[in-house]
């Protein structure tokens, strides 16, 4: 048996923004085996939830992941509504779907950017993230937050989307379409990207079934699963859309599936808005007084795949047991198939191709004046500034452009003040 080198990817490695250790056992450049260790970032959320009330749990599960921060509340709401036997009003369903799909768009754009970064294509990285920015603005208009939206509650949603916002949402989405298309063509038609991604890290249909992989990872290998269709929830049965499936199972197919899902999501949002116009404004929740004894499970299709929540209630105001399964948990296991036998170069890309979830987005930041070294903004200041911008951005609804330039002007001023690069 030849001597093996262990190439560590993690616990801190530029490829993985979260602490996670992959040990690549290598024979030269070829990966012969892979092992991984997780748990560096364990926060005990399931246990924490047992000490929270049902309503508070929403805010905890939202913080499991910063990127798909609505999929966990989505699944949790589905679980709670199963226990309480509540039917959510249609308008709330549409709003939920809109938030969920916007999240899919921004998450997929984020992945495209990161994937570009991983193969050394930083231009795609920056461009994808630039085009993702208006989607985050949309979140701010709809929910008041760029991330961690706090939109969901048992029986409905917390905020209505007002009639006058519809046109803004549609305008921004219309603006996004050509940009996403341009980005997609740039990636899909690039011969060098073909060389790097086609036929690399292949997961066959059988592999997906063996490992129970979910989401775009599964759909790129020809496994036609999507919780939105298979276990309908929110407004997904009420609109027309199709599940994107590709057969190849390589990294390229995963990128194609994600790109096409962006367009599918845009179409879902447009249909939801069209149908919302017919619903009564303000009819966004059913009041739920008590959670009866019992248990319920909820599923939601996060950008990375199926999120599963199980909640057990004993009739009090807090869950007795809360079980969460995030999609990356199953998708990460496929590395055993997709990375072994590849070169290190391709294996690292295969690691990133399932879009493992980075769940540590909480940051504290300060802004210093570059010249005088005085602290301009600390944590509270930044929060105040963000609230101010939210007010501005929500006030701009009618005259989109004028306000936008004001916000941008202020933003660039702040950027100038930050340290030089």
């Amino acid at each position: 048996m030849p001597e093996k080198t262990i190439i560590p990817v993690g616990p801190y490695h530029p490829l993985q923004e979260e602490p996670e250790l992959f040990k690549l056992y290598c024979d030269g450049e070829i990966v012969t085996d892979i092992e991984w260790e997780t748990g560096y970032n364990h926060r005990g959320i399931e246990k924490i939830n047992e000490s929270k009330t049902f309503e508070q749990v929403f805010f905890v599960v939202e913080r499991i992941c910063g990127i798909c921060s609505t999929s966990h509340p989505f699944a949790y709401a589905n679980a709670m509504e199963e226990i309480a036997h509540v039917t959510v009003p249609d308008r709330a369903k549409y709003i939920r779907s809109i938030v969920g799909e916007l999240e899919r768009i921004h998450s997929h754009l984020l992945w495209v950017g990161l994937a570009g970064h991983f193969i050394g294509y930083n231009t795609v990285f920056m461009w994808a993230w630039k085009y993702r920015e208006p989607v985050l603005d949309l979140f701010e208009i709809i929910t008041g937050n760029r991330n961690s939206y706090a939109m969901f509650k048992i029986g409905g949603v917390r905020r209505d989307i007002e009639e006058k916002d519809f046109s803004t949402i549609l305008t921004i989405l219309d603006g996004l379409k050509p940009k996403a298309e341009m980005l997609m063509n740039a990636v899909i038609d690039d011969p060098v990207i073909h060389m790097r991604t086609k036929g690399k890290g292949i997961l066959t249909r059988q592999d997906i079934i063996d490992f129970c992989a979910v989401g775009p990872t599964a759909r790129a290998s020809g496994v036609d699963i999507d919780i939105r269709r298979d276990d309908p929830y929110a407004a997904y049965p009420l609109v027309n859309w199709k599940v994107i499936v590709a057969a190849e199972g390589d990294i390229f197919a995963k990128a194609v599936v994600r790109f096409l899902e962006i367009f599918e999501s845009i179409s879902i949002i447009e249909q939801c808005i069209e149908k919302m116009r017919k619903e009564k404004p303000g009819d966004i929740e059913v009041k739920v007084k008590n959670i009866p004894e019992g248990d319920g499970s909820g599923r939601a299709e996060a950008p990375r795949g199926e999120v599963f929540h199980y909640v057990k209630s004993d009739g009090s105001n807090a869950p007795v047991r809360h079980k969460i399964r995030a999609p990356s948990y199953v998708n990460v296991a496929t590395f055993k198939k997709s990375c072994v036998g590849q070169t290190i170069t391709d294996a690292t890309l295969a690691l990133a191709a399932v879009d493992p979830c980075y769940c540590c987005t909480e940051r504290m930041a300060s802004v210093y004046d570059a010249r005088t070294r005085n602290k301009i903004l600390d944590g509270t200041g930044l929060i105040r500034m963000s609230q101010e911008q939210t007010r501005l951005i929500q006030g701009r609804k009618s005259k989109v452009e004028g306000q936008r330039s004001k916000v941008e002007g202020r933003r660039s001023k702040v950027e100038g003040r930050r340290s030089k690069e």
Partner: protein
């Protein structure tokens, strides 16, 4: 005494690092603008260098200390010497000597080899991996580079002196004006890209794969010197292309502007290539150089032989 001045002040270390620093800034700024970013201020490469000088230099206990610490010094020395040899005939300080083209070819290899030595001496598995990648890549592109040089020597009427090559081009027009010259430009620029370790050939220090590879263990002074060598190569390599293919530099009157434009244009080209391509793997890069670039170079040699 004059040699010391040439090496340390002009056109050696000081001149090359200042000019190279600005070219490196241009590359970074342009990259930033292409990516909707603001980009660094003009003096950023020098800030980087000074900041790194003030940082602690860490030597791992696994490392072969002296070799590891000397490697960046070799890199800077090699880069500086090649710069001196290229610019002495350009600035008319001297005429160089018969055969300096070959010497420059070897000297330009020195920084890369120094990085490899430093990485292998560092005792880090990721650095070792980066070094082994760099060695493979080196074998790939240096052969193409040699073929290109052979074609250029053939075109220049079997002279191997930079001075004669520049003179010939200034009398009879730049080599790129001919068919073989245009063909030679492609493999030469690709070799330059690989020598600078820019995308698509940055697999030796691929940050997202092997966390910086050959540069991973360098810190403080050693990293500062490695960076300095990179700045200098940023000036040396495009200048070399200009000297052997694009008619050299002319420093009289308006021609200074034209020479500067050539230099900036080449850096622009390098930056564009590195911002519109993903990274290649080792096998792909080798295939690219061994098959395609060598093929182009051989065709160019035949054309040059036929006088085209």
């Amino acid at each position: 005494m004059a040699q010391v001045f040439y090496f340390f002040i002009f056109p050696g270390l000081l001149f090359a690092s200042v000019a190279g620093g600005f070219l490196s800034w241009f590359d970074r700024k342009l990259t930033a603008r292409l990516q909707f970013r603001v980009g660094p201020p003009m003096l950023q490469p020098f800030y980087d260098f000074v900041k790194l000088l003030a940082k602690e230099t860490i030597v791992s206990s696994e490392a072969a200390k002296s070799l590891f610490l000397m490697a960046p010094v070799f890199a800077v020395t090699g880069a500086c010497l090649s710069c001196v040899l290229i610019f002495i005939p350009v600035f008319g300080i001297g005429n160089g000597f018969q055969g300096d083209l070959i010497v420059i070819f070897y000297l330009m290899m020195v920084p890369t080899i120094s990085y490899i030595i430093g990485a292998l001496a560092s005792g880090n598995p990721l650095s070792n991996l980066g070094a082994s990648r760099e060695i493979k890549l080196l074998i790939g592109y240096e052969f193409s580079m040699l073929l290109v040089l052979a074609a250029i020597i053939l075109k220049a009427g079997n002279t191997v002196s930079i001075h004669d090559i520049i003179l010939l081009q200034q009398q009879e027009g730049a080599f790129i004006g001919s068919l073989s010259g245009v063909l030679l430009f492609i493999p030469l620029m690709m070799c330059v890209q690989a020598k600078l370790a820019f995308v698509p050939f940055d697999l030796a220090d691929a940050e997202t794969e092997i966390a910086g590879g050959i540069f991973l263990e360098f810190s403080g002074l050693t990293l500062a010197l490695a960076k300095l060598a990179k700045y200098i190569m940023m000036l040396v390599l495009p200048s070399f292309v200009i000297v052997v293919l694009l008619g050299g530099f002319r420093l009289d009157g308006i021609h200074i502007l034209w020479s500067l434009l050539k230099l900036i244009g080449l850096v622009l080209l390098i930056t564009l290539v590195r911002n519109t391509n993903p990274r290649l793997t080792v096998g792909q890069s080798l295939r690219f150089f061994f098959i395609w670039m060598n093929l182009i170079a051989v065709v160019a040699i035949l054309l040059a032989y036929a006088g085209l």
